[in-house]
Symmetry: C2
Subunit: 393 residues, 2 copies
């Protein structure tokens, strides 16, 4: 697929290459900011077949810049789905066995209502008129989708990073609807340092004169430079010092000696510039503001008198919490806090800290220990839930 | 001193409130990029009195955004000198005992020639016509200043971060001229991750339309938004996750509840915005590009067949290497590499890793263990060097 044949991020915001569930004024979303939001749409993909008992559904929750295209060619980039290592026939999240659902988050830009979507009240993109979204709002919207699909209880909710935040929120808000949960490289609250990095990214976007106070779509421009800088800064935090050292070190890019200039002499510079420039082709700048803000606001314990264990009190869900040794964005200590709270709340929990030098983004990479952990946990949970057959059999 | 009474960063670039040593075409600087650079100026401050033997001079090397105003009111900001905790009467670097010199680095913007200085060939600011500067170029320029001051051998060269890089370069390039050396929170080469963060900062500056390809001074504008974003991103790296958590956590700024907006709800956001906005008042954007580039290019071993120990072979200087446990920008492992190389080179070396949660910027803070380490090392070195008396006595 060539670039010209591909969909644009703008057309995906309102007419996505996805299934879409539409909710009208009869079913508004009660948002944390106090607004009853309607109408709204949720764009989603499914893989595999829902069994007759409707007991084999797995909800995959995506991260900050992810979307619903888990295991199919992406309509804008033409690239493979973002979790094809994990989700597919015979993969740890086995589409031959489970019915997989992934929806674009509220505030996103791939077909679920977000700041790039048209505001029906004036026919223009929402921009900053979109209400501020929280992780709980995202999960409430997903619950409406699950209702719409006629699924009472999810067999499993799984996700990494912001996806893991949604997993924790699901388990807290809808404990009866979550049989099993796998929060990966996540935390029950966003740290001060992480808020700081997000704020840098937002300031980079807003500093771009093409941002136009959020009205760039109306004005036919895009704050691409600011968004690229935001992505570059964030991308560093997704890797580890060690992985950067091994992958790039101080190696020069297609040259023998430094140029004594501001060209991208070093491979790491060239790599980062590439990450920035490709990101702006597939992501909406205002969505970046909204979704980072949702993560910043996330503090699960705050809704439970500051006591995280209360969020999970009496939970019958079974949890598998996963962290990575080299993840400095969501370090193991954050996952350990979740595990302690789950234990204190009386929940069933396994905890796996995976030894890897690949940093936060390890959950997206080819990591055999993550695959075997997920497969083993899901197998045991499926047995407990009575999911024995391959779909349809 | 009010803002209106203060000097501006622009006037400081060519007519600084400092001593200035001027070097004309008879004394060009042989730069690593291959250019014999002349004329050039070095702006510097001194504290204390040079003794009759000229044996008590300490060169303080400043960090990325530092300058020569170590221990006096800053002419632009009106604030105290950046290392008054360390340098002064009775302080660890005792101005009653030693003659302290600090010069603004080549490429800086406080009076030493840099991109904001006037290019004598056309009467305009250099901008990107300033040759790319390296750490070794900075040190070569400092050596010319030391010659100019009639000092054969420095009693000590000391500095943190980029200042520590200069200390190591001094010890390698001019071993006979360095009696003692204190590199703090430094490294013998800039890491891939650190280059990455610098590249983000440079891209933020260059993305600002007011940067104008580096010609903003000629055009009467300033890339303030881009430079503020660069500073915000960098500032996060100077602290530690733990110190941010203790200092700010998720505390809200002058409000009881989140605003559900993109205002600076969190104290950390407000703090970062303040850091960005005050930085642009005192620093030149092009200097930021040049000085970060100098750090990126720094790889001391590369000049010695890739073997760092060769840089220090047979050195008679005595070293005190200092690192901080929570410094993730220049982690202890980097200092340890330097120590191993010094040992392998046969140099005399002490190594102190200070336990602190304050991150990289700990070298600028009130840190009793850093003060006692410095004081003890300098006392012993002064005794070895035969510096017994208080100045003039």
């Amino acid at each position: 697929m060539t670039v010209s044949q591909r969909a644009s991020v703008l057309s995906e915001a309102d007419t996505p290459h996805s299934l879409v569930a539409r909710f009208d004024a009869s079913s508004p979303l009660a948002m944390d900011c106090g607004i009853d939001f309607a109408p709204f749409s949720i764009a989603y993909q499914t893989y595999g077949v829902l069994n007759a008992e409707r007991s084999n559904a797995i909800l995959v929750c995506h991260a900050l810049t992810g979307d619903q295209h888990v295991a199919n060619i992406h309509p804008v980039t033409g690239k493979a789905g973002w979790w094809e290592t994990m989700v597919g026939p015979g993969q740890p999240i086995d589409t031959d066995r489970f019915f997989i659902i992934c929806s674009n988050v509220l505030g996103g830009c791939m077909g679920t209502t977000g700041p790039a979507s048209l505001n029906p009240s004036n026919g223009e993109p929402y921009g900053l008129d979109m209400p501020i979204v929280t992780i709980r709002d995202m999960v409430r919207a997903q619950a409406k989708l699950i209702d719409h699909l006629g699924i009472e209880q999810l067999f499993c909710v799984v996700g990494g990073s912001m996806g893991g935040m949604q997993v924790l929120q699901w388990a807290a808000t809808y404990p009866e609807r979550v049989f099993a949960a796998i929060p990966i490289a996540a935390a029950a609250r966003h740290s001060s340092q992480n808020i700081a990095f997000h704020e840098v990214g937002r300031q980079a976007v807003m500093a771009d004169p093409n941002w136009r106070g959020g009205r760039y779509l109306q004005e036919g421009v895009k704050p691409e430079k600011g968004l690229a800088v935001a992505r570059m800064a964030a991308h560093i935090t997704y890797m580890s010092d060690d992985s950067l050292h091994r992958k790039f070190g101080r190696k020069l890019q297609n040259r023998e000696a430094p140029t004594f200039s501001f060209q991208a002499d070093f491979q790491i510079e060239s790599y980062l510039r590439y990450q920035g420039s490709t990101f702006v082709e597939r992501f909406d700048a205002n969505s970046y503001l909204y979704v980072t803000r949702a993560m910043d606001y996330f503090d699960l314990a705050a809704d439970y008198d500051g006591v995280l264990a209360k969020a999970f009190k009496g939970s019958k869900s079974r949890f598998c919490v996963v962290s990575f040794t080299s993840d400095w964005l969501f370090p193991t200590i954050e996952s350990r806090s979740v595990v302690h709270a789950l234990n204190a709340g009386g929940a069933s929990v396994s905890f796996v800290e995976i030894d890897t030098n690949k940093g936060h983004d390890a959950f997206l990479l080819d990591l055999p220990e993550l695959f075997s952990t997920t497969r083993g946990f899901l197998d045991a949970a499926a047995k407990a839930r009575g999911i024995h057959q391959v779909h349809g059999a």
